[in-house]
Subunit: 480 residues, 2 copies
Amino acid sequence: MAKNEKLVESITSMDEDFAQWYTDIVKKAGLIEYTSVKGCMVIRPYGYAIWENMQKILDARFKELGHENVCMPMFIPESLLNKEKDHVKGFAPEVAWVTHGGSEKLEERLCVRPTSETLFCEHYANIVHSYRDLPKLYNQWVSVVRWEKTTRPFLRSREFLWQEGHTIHATAEEAIAETEQMLNVYADFCEQSLAMPVIKGKKTESDKFAGAVSTYAIEALMHDGKALQAGTSHYFGDGFAKAFGITYTDQNNRIQIPHQTSWGVTTRLIGAIIMTHGDDNGLVLPPAVAPIQVVIIPVAQHKEGVLEKANELYNTLKAAGIRVKLDDSEQSPGWKYSEYEMKGVPLRIEIGPRDIEENHCVAVERHNRNKTFIPLGELVERVGERLQAVHDGMFEKALENQKRRTYCCRSIDEINKALNEKGDGFVKAMWCGDEECEAKVKELTGAGSRCMPLEQEHIDDKCVCCGKPAKALVVWGKAY
Amino acid sequence: MAKNEKLVESITSMDEDFAQWYTDIVKKAGLIEYTSVKGCMVIRPYGYAIWENMQKILDARFKELGHENVCMPMFIPESLLNKEKDHVKGFAPEVAWVTHGGSEKLEERLCVRPTSETLFCEHYANIVHSYRDLPKLYNQWVSVVRWEKTTRPFLRSREFLWQEGHTIHATAEEAIAETEQMLNVYADFCEQSLAMPVIKGKKTESDKFAGAVSTYAIEALMHDGKALQAGTSHYFGDGFAKAFGITYTDQNNRIQIPHQTSWGVTTRLIGAIIMTHGDDNGLVLPPAVAPIQVVIIPVAQHKEGVLEKANELYNTLKAAGIRVKLDDSEQSPGWKYSEYEMKGVPLRIEIGPRDIEENHCVAVERHNRNKTFIPLGELVERVGERLQAVHDGMFEKALENQKRRTYCCRSIDEINKALNEKGDGFVKAMWCGDEECEAKVKELTGAGSRCMPLEQEHIDDKCVCCGKPAKALVVWGKAY
């Protein structure tokens, strides 16, 4: 067990240093490796497989809803980026500029896409002419670049992977319905596939996407009480269409201006999983996206019949479509337990000579170390049940944490008291709608507005800051 | 039928202007759209779906063979690109340089990856230490950028999509076996999924990948008799490992240098499909990668029962896992026939009142317009047979074309005569191994060396150029 203990020892505990705990996990679970390109990383096979599983689930859902994948260029000419004024103001300060092709200086510099609204708009201007061409429901899976000063793996990197949906519709109603639909798709995905509870809400004016009429977001609460924006969905109105000259002829032969949306989630969701479910033994992965859902570890594997039986279990689970791994390497079972706990494998199956005698195996759940004996004849069914139980248990635990760390406050003092006494978390408090109050709450408490939840509650009549009549409940928090 | 004829009329015929015919197809079949970024394009949903189908097949095959997907940064610092001398010489003249992040000038400029050997090497130097860490069998699906002067959609664009496999092995033998294995994977994919016959061969020294010990390629012959390199697989020896300081400790605790490979195919394969199978009516897609495998077109759809029956066929085929579309729009059947011929849908099913009476439907194959009556009770089975027949027929036709345009030559005169009289094609001729002769053949005939086929034949004792003893059979041709 010496090796085992050594491995566990080598992670910083969450309470001691949360940031270091996070960094330890991304490295030691084999998710990423640093490179000589500052702010960029290698996503290693185990990390990339999580993203592939996310992609598979989301892509299928997008397509069910009628979306099609396309691929835009990675470069945007400066003049194209400049076409929508708010948009360029938001993004120009943080883009990477290509100025030379080979040894020649370019006539016009190109930025590496920080997001692709401008490219989609140029394309829509080319292909949308009649009401018959609408809607276009497009998406792409690519990487984008934003020249951030400070970076952290998955949470904020100069290049990151994402999907960006871009749709264009005949009417505002349709576009707004699309924006809301995609927010719900993201929320359902977080809850049903990532076991991560989220709050759906609308961003305040000051926190909108550059160029949007309204921005919706899902917000999740991390172990350290900080909020993480896990996905966004924007309604653009007809602002981009006007800037890019996109029009269509309606059924009555009149020229109309279409309405647009965009929506995206990124590899940041991997960071969200780490900080929602991880513990001092390492990563804890939700079964739906875990690259390995079940790891089989033979005990006393040199004894007759153990490896044969372990292989039998492996083949049975694999045939049932479960992502399973058998580790029959020479390391001790104890070392392997630690290793796959570090890697966050949701379910561990132990099988040794005594288990074989008793015709069962032992299933240990990663998130709570619950032990179950599973009769070998019921393996597939019972493993399926356990994986569902793991998902449910992880979700409950995370929801519990979120509730415990959500504070209803009626004054700045109450906010500060709650955050000081109980630690960072979501603060629910009323707001008058004034941007000055929004800024002041942040200044006085450290907690910025995260969103105005779609499910509004009435906590108080007055703004938590100025005491004037309240217009909306806002969820506040310190954010990643 | 006026609309129908108008649509057909609007494609340039292949014989009249091959390049224009190609451009017409990529636009009119809805594969791409141009952008304001020179040399970059939008891959539209119909084009991207072809790539997605290719990815699905290849990715599954790579994984079966033990490869794992990763994701490297898109940027390479100039100093990293410079580490392997041949490599930088080959690529530096055609890379895009990022010089600024936001408003700040970068300390070191970064190129947008033209290929990722240097990044993989840096990573391997970090993670490979012991023989236990080998092999690493990595792949990534990304886009790369090469600053080409003249560009054509899919064939040569400044940004293109590809997969790049990068593997590292303990021994030269293992790495060479990997190189050959992946060449075979590509050849099988082209033949079994794209219905495209290819020649597997080794590149001559002058035509190798920058930094490789040896480069293998598959070469396909297009309709116009030009050769197209459809995939490459490189053996690097230990040159990159030495340049990047990658070493490992073997079983006997000795420091060793590992051996590497890389291999890739690109969206160029879509161009290859167009020019291998397309005709004057448009695209012809191989069933394995066609976004729509079967289109159902109701005839006299206003008559009672027609649309119901068409929907029934649709549901039956869809449930059987066939990618099927029912076009019940208001256009005439004739217009629809042209439209889906343009889009290259492998099989068209027509169903009208008389067919329903006779309890059959009509299946028309895109590549030869063969008509078959299919009893409705045998729909799934017979459609499956037809799709297989389409694949086989397309492959035969392409192989026929390749054979007809392959010339065995024993002198420069014979080469020129064959190319002049019979048109461009593959020329099989012997070579002494001298680079001067290789260059001279190209100069005198226009046909460069494509590869030395793995299946060598003995056509003559002497070099086709200098008459000295021949060392190898070379396939020569004009190339894309």
